[in-house]
Amino acid sequence: MNAMDISIAAARAVVIFGLVLSLIPVLIWMERKGAAYIQDRRGPNRAHILGFRLGGLVHMLADALKLLTKEEVTAAGVMKPLVFLAPALAFFAATATVAAVPFSGPISVAGQTLTLEVANMKAGLVYVLAISSLGAYALLLAGVTSQTSYSFLGAMRAASQFISYELALGMAALALFLVAGSLSLTDIAADQGAVLWRWNAFRQPLAFLIFMAALFAEASRLPFDLPEGDSEIVGYHVEYSSMRFAMFFMAEYAHIIVGSAVVAALFFGGWNIPFADQGLIAANAERIAAVAWPIAAVVLMLAGASIAQRFKKRFGDLRDYEPVMIGLPMMIAGVTLAILYAPLGDVILSTRWLPAAVTFVLGFTAVLAKTLLIASVFVWVRWTLPRFRYDQVMAFGWKILLPAGMLNLVVTAAIMLYLG
């Protein structure tokens, strides 16, 4: 192993980790804006940096700063190292799972096949299940070390809920292993190909439903947010404050992002775009780029113009100028693109690495779009459904999901045998 290998390895890890980390505020923003949209209100839209509000995205930064500077309350008589360990472990478990998730299809550059992923692990899904189940320890630690009856109840709920739904998760995954003949997320995604009805969401609908339900439970999201259960037991994190408290939620959102990316790879073909397989895209890369360039230029100009014309005196400070400050650069960028098309177009469109670049961009966009779409289902469900009760959660996991998963496994094997 040489320095080149080490630097590529480090680059992979840093890029993927950075991606997950930067998606967390995006998802929090989606959650808050989504909730506001569902509940007939505006959501966050006040905080700004030099007038830039970015539709409320700046609030996430403000929140992070506020939480960092908040007082940390540590209940008397707790086991201090464990109190620090619990949120760190939660965050670690949620983000480390991303190692096995592919964010783009394989592309060949300079004779090497590269994929935007940390590693194409042979036992990728097993790794995901293993690492994500560490999250249960975090909640257990947080609840038990707090020395509070409420957090203790939360911890007991968390422990029994997580282990119950891990079984359902495993059962649903088994059926996918059967179908794909591999445990690697990259292989399972590749196996589905670009044909829409070969995607596992359609080939394995029951496994999909079980997996989604179990994922909700594993991420402890409403209707399965019993460990938190804020109106009942106040939560396993009742003794946590400031950033230590927020880390549990960062972990929750990281869990949703990674989980959604896993679902995208397992059930929605990962980087595959319906009816446009990788070879087709690579072969037509030049045409795609030739069409996309002018469209991008026009869209940038029009979007910039429409944003800029929303300028209105409302706040009496820099925030009023936000539409102009965003719209004008967009228009300029669009115009520049259009002008550059004539002199530079041919040069760029005929470069050797264009097919790889186009496949990569399209594949990455597909993964990102699928991930965020699935994550938005989490948001949508949270603001729609009431919470289960503890006994119902357990009954649902053991009496419905687990038998259904077993049945699905047997039926899948039978069908595969029948079809040869």
Binding site: A35, I38, Q39, D40, R41, S149, Y150, L153, M156, R157, L222, P223, D225, L226, G229, D230, S231, E232, I233, V234, W383, T384, L385, P386, R387, F388, R389, Y390, D391, Q392
Partner: protein
């Protein structure tokens, strides 16, 4: 009205039935203290007076039998009421308990003990209820100084009560065969069992799902409630003591703080009681407007109750839908009374001001928003599997049980009993307009939620009809011994000025007597038992808060359920600490 009950008592008790009298059409019977329990038993079994709506104490310093106990009984089928009174001497202020006859009397008797020191022999758990356990003296006695402060900060462990109440894994003790321990209270030191092995948990006073400041100590088996002891009094503001120290008019502002979610209904209830005492008929327009304001308040109250209850169950979004509508109704209340929360809107003899211009259009648009909100919420909840599983059969109570425990309002109607004061004893013009009394079937959390939802629709119907039929006319009575004269008379005639002076300086002087006046507030029958000795202040102003008996039954409702159900049931009962603790 209810003379038959007096006859029944005289027949059966003979000498022990001392006397009877009637004031403003309400029959009272006075019995000897020794015959108290017997009298109640006769009235319950033979007189079919199945509900004890209120029981309270009274103090007559200087008289031979200083303390008086007053019970108000009601027959839901016959729609008849009677008042039963007895006296006990100062040196031995004790009478037998009525909990064996009416289980609802439990807390009422504890309150009478707390406030007056009247001892109820045979009561299963006679300890202070509103005041702190270390409180010295009895605050509602006339000789207890109003200014005296007794600060306490150590909370009660409640372990003595935990011993008395039956955990649910023993046969559940119902009202009919309730086991009563002899002796009064068990001292805290005599607790025999060790508590180390039990998992006890305080829910409240500072808990996200407690709608106000009250507490229930539960004993858990995993998450199942084995036993529960409620504690109230965290928000006790001595309403009744304050009322005795203020003039008849000043008390109105205090009533705002009873059920603070729908204050106008408390204002109207109190004013109605004083008007009945004074024998005043308020003008027609005032009656219609009171109905209007009360129904708007009822909608506001139910919107909060349902919204908050759904939040407790985890369905958060519904709260915003319902609150949007409430916000608009509250805007109207602000235009009407000048305040959003502490309205102090009604006056003795009428109203403080007429409805604002444009009320018709404003209220109709409010109703439109409300109907849309209810439609949206019903779509999200009514057939939602999770919500149904969470609420069906949870905290259920039978009709009979609910009546003996003194339930009224939506919580009683959810059991199937169609008792609504507006229908059973119509006041104002409630019998002139068309509306229905929605009832439930099972008396569980689900029914309580949807009875409230349907009641909002009925209130909207009432509002629409009131808006159509609202007559022109004065909004204050013309009785000069109650109402300030108009300015031109004050400044233009000596009689007017003298009248103004007399009223402003000395207030109104209702005749000696007592009334029990009851209205249908958002949570049920809101009763005001008012005693006047002819002075400018109430001699006794007792509030029969609908929450009080309902919260009393709370431990029974939650036993055997899970922690998550506690908050769901709590929300559906809609306990308001302001009127619970007064």
């Amino acid at each position: 009205m209810a003379i038959e009950y007096i006859k029944l008592l005289e027949e059966r008790l003979g000498d022990a039935a001392v006397e009877s009298h009637s004031f403003r059409g309400f029959e009272s019977a006075v019995v000897r203290s020794g015959a108290w329990e017997r009298a109640l038993e006769i009235l319950k079994t033979d007189g079919k007076l199945n509900m004890l709506t209120d029981l309270c104490g009274l103090d007559h310093p200087g008289e031979k039998d200083r303390f008086e106990v007053v019970a108000h009984l009601y027959s839901v089928e016959k729609k008849k009421r009677v008042r039963l009174k007895t006296r006990c001497p100062e040196d031995d202020p004790s009478i037998s308990t009525s909990t064996r006859v009416y289980p609802a009397a439990d807390w009422f008797e504890r309150e009478a003990f707390d406030m007056y020191g009247i001892r109820f022999d045979g009561h299963p758990n006679l300890k202070r209820i509103l005041c702190h356990r270390d409180f010295v003296g009895h605050p509602l006695r006339k000789d207890y100084p109003k200014e005296k402060r007794q600060p306490f900060s150590t909370p009660d462990t409640l372990m003595d009560e935990m011993e008395i109440l039956d955990p649910c894994d023993r046969p559940i003790v119902r009202s009919s065969d309730r086991k009563i321990l002899d002796g009064v209270t068990i001292a805290r030191s005599t607790i025999a069992r060790s508590h180390d092995s039990r998992f006890l948990l305080n829910i409240g006073p500072s808990h996200p799902a407690m709608h106000g400041c009250f507490r229930v100590l539960v004993e858990l088996d995993g998450e199942r409630i084995r036993n529960a002891v409620p504690e109230i009094g965290y928000m006790h503001r001595c309403f009744e003591k304050e009322a005795e120290a203020h003039t008849w008019h000043q008390v109105i502002a205090y009533t705002d703080r009873l059920n603070y979610v729908s204050p106008i209904m408390n204002n109207a209830g109190y004013c109605m009681a004083v008007e009945r005492l004074l024998d005043i008929e308020i003008p027609e327009r005032a009656k219609w407007i009171r109905m209007l304001a009360c129904e708007v308040s009822r909608i506001c109250d139910h919107l909060v109750a349902v919204g908050a209850n759904l939040v407790d169950i985890g369905a958060l979004t519904n709260f915003w839908y319902l609150f949007n509508a409430r916000e608009q109704f509250t805007d109207w209340i602000e235009a009407l009374a000048g305040a959003r929360l502490t309205a102090t809107y009604t006056r003795i003899g009428g109203l403080s001001r007429d409805i604002p211009a444009g009320s018709n259009a404003q209220l109709r648009s409010c109703i439109k928003t409300m109907r849309q909100a209810i439609k949206d919420v019903a779509a999200m909840t009514k057939k939602n599997r999770i919500l149904i599983d969470r609420t069906h059969g949870i905290g259920a109570i039978s009709e009979e049980e609910a009546i003996t425990r003194g339930f009224t309002g939506p919580c009683l109607r959810a059991t199937g009993c169609a008792y609504d004061v507006r229908r059973a004893h119509p006041y104002y013009f409630y019998d002139d307009i068309e509306w229905d009394v929605p009832v439930g079937i099972r008396g569980d959390t689900y029914d309580r939620i949807f009875v409230r939802m349907e009641e909002m629709e009925q209130s909207a119907r009432i509002i629409e009809q009131v808006l159509e039929r609202l007559p022109e006319g004065p909004i204050m009575t013309s009785r000069r011994d109650v109402v300030l004269p108009p300015p031109h008379e004050v400044y233009g005639s000596i009689e007017g000025m003298m009248q103004h002076f007399k009223l402003a300086m000395h207030g109104i002087h209702p005749p000696e007597g007592e009334v029990y006046s009851y209205t249908e507030a958002a949570n049920g029958e809101l009763g005001f038992y008012i005693v006047s000795d002819g002075c400018e202040r109430p001699y006794r102003a007792r509030v029969r808060a609908p929450c009080f008996p309902i919260y009393q039954a709370f431990p029974m409702l939650i036993k055997g359920h899970l922690v998550a159900d506690v908050v769901a049931i709590m929300g559906s009962l809609n306990i308001i600490a302001g009127e619970l603790d007064r």
